[in-house]
Point group: C2
Chain length 211, copies 2
């Protein structure tokens, strides 16, 4: 893919007065709302400004492009997810296989559901801009954490912990994503809550060569 890469992602100016901090936050949530209701393709700077109750110019005082705005939002969301998962991993260190599987699945679902709105809104941004750098950083952190976690499970040797962690991360991320993207009836959500931990556990039990 040859999509626009991040040019200058950082805010052009950091808010100094309370007033502007409020403005930036308003722009932020307006963007997410519009993203969710109309998708990336329909997201225009004017609409964001209007929804946020400010003028277009104001937006450009804090973000050099539309891109930068979208990147800022993605970054915040990724940080949230990664933090949540790292915390969970810490808590699960040394637990047995079932505990780890359920813990990871639950942590992932909780993190996604906690901000289900932004999560769903964001999935589309990747299609329009090149997020690989941002994503990869998060992915590496996540896989690393999972690997350490797996290696710390007592009585369970993994032949190739890195591959197992890779697969588990893909499984978690992918499964939740497709379900969230496809309408997602409440019914589907319940099913996911119930089945995702099982899928993780099933996979881990299969690849763990018990000693």
């Amino acid at each position: 893919m040859n999509r626009p890469a991040p040019d200058l992602l950082k805010p052009r100016k950091t808010p100094q007065q309370t007033r502007s901090a409020v403005t930036v936050e308003a722009i932020h949530t307006a963007t997410i709302q519009l993203l969710l209701s109309d998708g990336v393709a329909r997201l225009t700077t004017t609409r964001v400004a209007a929804r946020a109750g400010v003028s277009v110019g104001t937006m450009y005082q804090y973000y050099p492009h539309k891109q930068a705005l979208l990147f800022a939002i993605v970054e915040r969301q990724l940080d949230m997810i990664v933090t949540a998962m790292l915390t969970a991993a810490e808590r699960l260190a040394g637990c047995d296989l079932q505990c780890v599987a359920e813990g990871l699945a639950t942590a992932w679902l909780d993190a996604k559901m906690a901000d289900i709105v932004s999560s769903r809104a964001i999935y589309g941004i990747a299609a329009e801009f090149d997020l690989s750098e941002l994503m990869n950083r998060a992915k590496i952190l996540l896989i690393d954490a999972i690997r350490s976690l797996l290696e710390a499970v007592p009585d369970a040797g993994f032949t190739d912990p890195d591959t197992t962690a890779f697969m588990l991360a893909a499984l978690l991320g992918g499964t939740v994503r497709v379900v969230m993207e496809s309408g997602m009836a409440d019914d589907d959500f319940e099913r996911l809550r119930q089945e995702l931990p099982r899928a993780c556990l099933g996979y881990l039990q299969l690849v763990a060569s018990r000693q």
Copy 2:
């Protein structure tokens, strides 16, 4: 989401002479190439026409919008996948759990890989247009086929075959998707080939109450 839904998807005119059939095919492949190299956001009618070696007007003789063109491509791709999976399901009827798990995972990977180019290209379209109708039709067919398949596995009772089929479909689709979308090194592909069948099998073994 409130994205544009399919208006008039069907070709405005069906090619009658050999010449025009060639043209339509050229437009088709040009679109996929551009989609893959630059993403949806960069896909313009002019560029498609140029790449296909025809003029813009020609494109509009067969598709009423850009939308219709994209939908036609998605539809073709979905049909291919669904057909491949239904065929595989037929072949696997009556096999044991391991055989079914491996068969489904392999069939899914093969189908995606056979046309890896279009597969990757297409993932972005969903962000811009409302594909839920198209997708749901495919999803229902797929889940149905998997459910029947599961019920036909000897010596393995599933408490809730529908939920299991739902989860398996999400797992297959999601996992492969995230891996394909994230750059996808050859290394990642090998890992997926190896681990996806295991993940399916692990999950199925766990939820199958052996008799």
